[in-house]
Symmetry: C2
Subunit: 354 residues, 2 copies
DNA sequence: CTGTTAGCGCCTTCAG
DNA sequence: CTGAAGGCGCTAACAG
């Protein structure tokens, strides 16, 4: 035992200049090669599972590597192999349940595929976004990018990503494969559902004006209302509880109350619900309420919230699968896909089973 | 303009063997050097802000680099400099608001410090945890590790991390710097608050038995009750709404109802609240309710939830700051720190201002 | 099957 | 102040 590791032990003890890591020196492929009496090439082959290595040699190499606790240096490996085994994820933010769920879906697939995740958020700032994208170069094999801002100037237009990428909830652009939640059809369906339940004055609490999904949902609401004779009634919102709460109060104070309120997402619907609760207005008896997303809390509030279910984790998972396919075969046809959403009827609209 | 980029343009057009990345070739330091009529060494120095470069030369180099959209290749840089500019974040999971908030805090500091984040979750599986830690070697300069499972065998004991690391909400072990939410004192404070508000039969909805924080909160509850004459009354829970809901129902059905319920976290408190709502039991009139965490919804439910505020984003931010200090100076003394929590009194305990 | 060798792109002495 | 040159650790031809 001792004899085998003498060389390395000596190096460990008398490392001339301790390279970082708290004075530790790391074991390289050379150390393994020397201990196993083979060349570095053979070690590389053995460790990477190539076929052209004699069984006994492979065995010996693996043992030595294990004993020395060798672990290949990632930077070196990816510098020479030109692959990083890492996927870059660039998001507008990391805050809230949406991103959390998204990451969960992405993470599951990444783990399954043995890929690492380099995450970065740009806080809605186009400059930071550019910087984040640039910084990904040489660190990742592909990119998952979410850029939901419907700015006049497409921040991606000028960015040569220089690598395969998939767009998430960002519309379709730059000839990249894209995957979007089908917000438009979802919102239209919900609006029609409310109409068919007998509501005619349906108010809509919108999302941020520069957000792609918010835009699609508003469009779906308007189109859903189109032939009904009902006029659109839109309040501003921000996708958070606070703005839903504010919108709820505003609705109560308006001269003519709506029959139903459709919030562009569940968090706003909940904020609105609490505003109604505080004012003693009963849901659904006096006003019906609907949301969008089906967050976990939607089923626990009282009354249960009617909403559109969006499987966000599936969104992330599917996006990464698309990217992996692109990575495996760059000629995979590029398409824009939609993630289906589903109407979930609960008590908040007054037409639900108990 | 054209003349300057002729060389590179030619290369881009007639790259002999397109090296990965969908057939694109990337611009290297050599390209910049050639365009700027200097050596690669000078480019390197100029771009890295070293002082020994003539102002006009630096200017020219920066211009060329900008025009060519040059961005250094990470793997190459970290191979030669032995630093990755990346922090590894190893978490038990990526699911839910807690991790989302944690990541937000970490991300803010990382961005501020120009560091990237390599995230990985191990789904509560010790083997996966080991694999994740091993895979971090050579890819990151330091580690933020959350390992809240109070298993008999410390999964970290055998792991030579081989690099600076900070433990998050994982107790104190392995001689690593640690940062923990002060769950014990928080729970004790809350329990005493409930007692002093006149409640004597206080039930506690516990968290997962193998979770460090859950354990600390339970301990705080017991100690808070210690000299009061009240007996502990503990129900199992899982930190999610569903288990809080179940516990709430169980409490209602028990022969002797409690005066107050203290849930080990807000999600369970909300689940419990909805169970009470459904049963028509009024909070706080019939039963007082308290939680722990102060998630955003806590202030929007009706009645507002009395809870202990935990600044999770601050937890992440502080942990990364500690790690950065460790990275900057390995001799920084190692200590276990506590993140203070604060009592937030709302209406759910019946002693609050409206 | 195995060893030798030439880079991958960048940083960093060491001479000028 | 600047250029030339030697690696960093690993992979991938190319010869044996």
């Amino acid at each position: 035992m001792q004899e085998f590791c003498s060389d390395v032990c000596k190096r460990l003890q008398s490392a001339p200049s301790a390279p970082s890591f708290g004075g530790r020196v790391s074991i390289t492929i050379k150390d393994v090669a020397r201990e196993a009496n083979v060349s570095v090439a053979t070690v590389s082959r053995a460790l990477n599972g190539h076929e052209n290595v004699a069984p006994d040699v492979r065995q010996r190499v693996l043992e030595v590597a294990d004993r020395l606790q060798y672990s290949p240096h990632h930077a070196a490996r990816s510098l020479s192999s030109r692959r990083t085994q890492t996927i870059g994820v660039v998001l507008p933010d990391l805050y809230g349940e949406f991103f959390s769920e998204l990451m969960r879906g992405i993470d599951a697939v990444a783990r399954e595929a043995g890929r690492h995740l380099l995450v970065s958020s740009y806080h809605g700032n186009p400059d930071e976004q550019g910087a984040a994208l640039r910084a990904m170069r040489g660190r990742v094999d592909g990119l998952l990018l979410m850029s939901p801002f419907v700015a006049d100037a497409d921040p991606l237009a000028g960015q040569a990503l220089g690598m395969p990428a998939v767009l998430l909830n960002s519309g379709a652009r730059a000839g990249l494969p894209a995957l979007n939640v089908d917000s438009y059809h979802g919102a239209r369906t919900m609006t029609r559902h409310l109409l068919s339940a007998g509501h005619s004055r349906i108010a809509f609490i919108a999302g941020p004006t520069d957000n792609f999904d918010a835009h699609e949902r508003l469009r779906g609401y308007r189109d859903g209302l189109a032939d009904s004779g009902s006029a659109p009634w839109v309040l501003p919102g921000d996708f958070d509880e606070a703005s839903g709460h504010a919108a709820g109060r505003e609705l109560l104070e308006s001269g003519e109350r709506p029959d139903a309120v459709f919030a562009a997402n569940d968090m706003m619907a909940l904020g609105c619900l609490f505003a109604f609760n505080q004012a003693g207005v009963r849901v659904p008896h006096e006003i019906a309420l609907a949301g969008f997303d089906d967050i976990p809390l939607a089923r626990y509030v009282h009354p249960g919230l009617t909403t559109m279910r969006v499987d966000i984790a599936a969104l992330g998972a599917r996006a990464l699968r698309t990217l992996m396919a692109q990575l495996a075969d760059p000629d995979t046809p590029v398409a824009a896909e939609r993630l289906e959403v589903a109407l979930v009827v609960r008590q908040s609209c007054g037409v639900a089973p108990v």
